[in-house]
């Protein structure tokens, strides 16, 4: 394996901008790594070697001409989750419904990456339409965790996190509706950030649950995630829910945090995100992380958010309800799959037969659950009550943030489980999101940063940090300080199954 694939995005950017290595050889090194290991890992649904090399050569031409790089990450390649549209490059959302579809436009995130000179290596695997916690709901087969190829890489953005852990890409983009950036980050020992809702444009992000969906940066270090955050964030008139406010200074915060001093920072441990259902090794890793935060000078107190125990049920009403409405667009008329168009079936029959064939089991379950929750007669008891719980969770956060600057918890209650273990038990699968969902319901910013390996099974554990809306910079300060004190987790390449 080339040394270039072992470097962080920040290190690669320095070398490329100093002319020590070219963007083209950097991109080629990652394409070679993908060719070598992706047969095992299956992080990518589509590799766009030509497009990535072309973007890299444009950066090299700028540097040769003495032009300033387009961004601090110009020339550093990236893996893009297959739920963000890419003009002329396949975008499937992990679904048969969109097999072979070539979007006619770029998502705003994609456009910003292109303008920043970031070569896009390809599109990463995911649970169909971002519904799942394991990538097993992908119509194109699961991604495997580089730490143990028999285990799940998390989901829905398992392809993005696995590409980082397998050193196929130094940077990736995920999307997080209930934990789809943070849980994959936790189980692969990488960093993932769900920015404040509205912080990154949703234009061109194929919608699952519009009031919760949020794109965000993934990397192997907190600083790399911060550099990527600043490239993709900011107001976008194409997204009516985009926040028209300055992007928090996350790179400065990451650099400040890396100095390893958290004195003056108040951190709250959420009492309700612990206890029954949490793996012992996860809880011990979390306790060690909290002790380390204290050593860094932070004041740590326990806080109670009593309504967080209702977040999971509320989420599994709100998200399916919004999904049942959003996925109505897959009607076999304007794009995507169409079956049984043989002159003997009406439009409505073609629609029903196409959706039966094009959607997987989890998508069908959620569409029906949402259809049920929104039906008259059930609306008040289910969807209406879930929206009230959303109010209560927002109030819990507000009260907690009057006492502390950030909240911490494990990112997910268990280490990565075996492929196939929970695929037939939807409720067991949903429990993976128990710690990550509150931040989505309230629209807060949240991060997962590696907190070592579980003492039981030697598998990765993540520390979740949560901050108020528009205070994303606090995540990066605390996350970088912790990362510096903890030391790298993903440095034992020989232990990765994907390296063998």
């Amino acid at each position: 394996m080339s040394d270039l694939t072992r470097l962080t995005a920040a290190e690669l950017a320095d070398k490329i901008h100093a002319g020590e290595v070219s963007a083209a050889e950097t991109t080629q090194a990652h394409l070679d790594r993908i060719a070598a290991v992706d047969g095992d890992v299956h992080a990518f649904l589509h590799v766009d070697a030509e497009g990535a090399l072309e973007a890299a050569r444009a950066v090299d031409a700028d540097i040769a001409a003495g032009t300033a790089p387009a961004s601090p990450l110009a020339g550093v390649p990236l893996a893009l989750k297959d739920v963000l549209t890419t003009r002329g490059v396949p975008t499937t959302c992990g679904s048969r419904t969109l097999e072979g579809w070539l979007p006619p436009y770029d998502a705003t995130v994609t456009r910003r990456l292109r303008e920043a000179g970031v070569p896009i290596l390809g599109k990463t695997n995911m649970d169909e339409f971002a519904m799942g916690s394991s990538t097993e709901n992908s119509a194109y087969g699961p991604t495997r965790n580089p730490w143990d190829l028999d285990r799940i890489p998390g989901g829905s953005g398992g392809g993005s996190s696995a590409s980082l852990a397998a050193y196929e890409a130094p940077l990736a983009i995920g999307t997080d509706t209930g934990g789809s950036i943070r849980q994959p980050a936790a189980v692969t020992a990488t960093v993932g950030v769900k920015p404040t809702y509205g912080g990154v444009s949703r234009y061109g992000l194929v919608a699952f649950s519009s009031s919760l969906d949020q794109a965000g940066p993934c990397g192997r270090t907190v600083l790399d995630a911060a550099l990527l955050h600043e490239v993709i964030a900011g107001h976008d008139p194409m997204d009516a829910t985009s926040i028209d406010a300055p992007v928090p200074a996350v790179v400065d915060a990451a650099r400040e945090g890396a100095r390893g001093d958290l004195s003056g920072v108040k951190i709250g441990v959420v009492r309700e995100l612990s206890g029954e259902g949490y793996q012992g090794g996860v809880l011990r890793s979390f306790e060690a992380a909290v002790a380390q935060l204290k050593e860094l000078g932070a004041e740590v107190v326990e806080v109670s958010c009593p309504n967080f125990t209702y977040a999971l049920p509320a989420y599994y009403l709100i998200a399916p309800s919004e999904c049942s409405s959003n996925l109505a667009r897959f009607d076999a008329m304007r794009y995507g799959l169409r079956v049984a168009d043989d002159g003997n079936h009406s439009a409505e029959e073609v629609m029903s037969l196409t959706r039966e064939e094009g959607f997987g089991a989890e998508v069908k379950r959620r569409v029906m659950l949402g259809t049920y929750a929104l039906s008259s007669g059930y609306y008040d008891a289910y969807y209406g009550s879930a929206q009230k719980v959303r109010t209560l969770i927002t109030r819990d956060f507000a009260a907690a943030f009057e006492q502390v600057d950030v909240l911490v918890s494990p990112t997910t209650p268990v280490t990565p489980f075996k492929l196939g273990e929970k695929v037939d038990d939807p409720l067991a699968m949903y429990l993976n999101d128990i710690c990550s969902i509150p931040a989505n319901l309230a629209g807060n910013a949240a991060m997962s940063v590696p907190s070592g390996l579980s003492d039981e099974d030697g598998l990765p554990v993540g520390l979740q940090i949560m901050a108020p809306a528009l205070a994303d910079d606090r995540l990066y300060r605390v996350g970088a300080a912790y990362e510096t004190a903890r030391g790298p987790v993903l440095d034992k390449l020989g232990e990765l199954e994907a390296a063998k």
């Binding site: 006619p104 049920p313 304007r334 009230k388 109010t391």
Partner: protein, 99 residues
């Protein structure tokens, strides 16, 4: 008591325009019943005095200036269509024989 019957699942599938199989009806009825049991918990704290929140960002009526901007060409818009004819989306018949 069961929350949801097999017939109700069939009705939901019809409303959602999904032609589910007989086998799927059995599986989904059991699973949806279990899920509904678990999510009904929201009723425990959803009192009458609590206002609902539909969205984390309290924004209303975001306007932009009404000016002509380039959009997709007809060819681009039709490029992903399952079937197109004479510059339009071609769809199966919408009305039944009897209508």
């Amino acid at each position: 008591m069961s929350n949801i019957s097999r017939d109700e699942v069939a009705h939901l599938a019809k409303l959602a325009r999904m032609a589910v199989t007989e086998e799927e009806l059995d599986t989904f009825a059991g699973q949806l019943d279990q899920i509904l049991d678990a999510v009904a918990k929201v009723g425990e704290v959803a009192g009458d005095d609590i206002p609902p929140t539909s969205h984390a960002v309290p924004l209303t009526n975001v306007f932009r200036t009404d000016e002509v901007r380039p959009g997709l060409s007809q060819d681009e818009a039709l490029a992903g269509a399952p079937a197109a004819e004479e510059g339009r989306f071609r769809v199966p018949r919408i009305l039944g024989e009897e209508q």
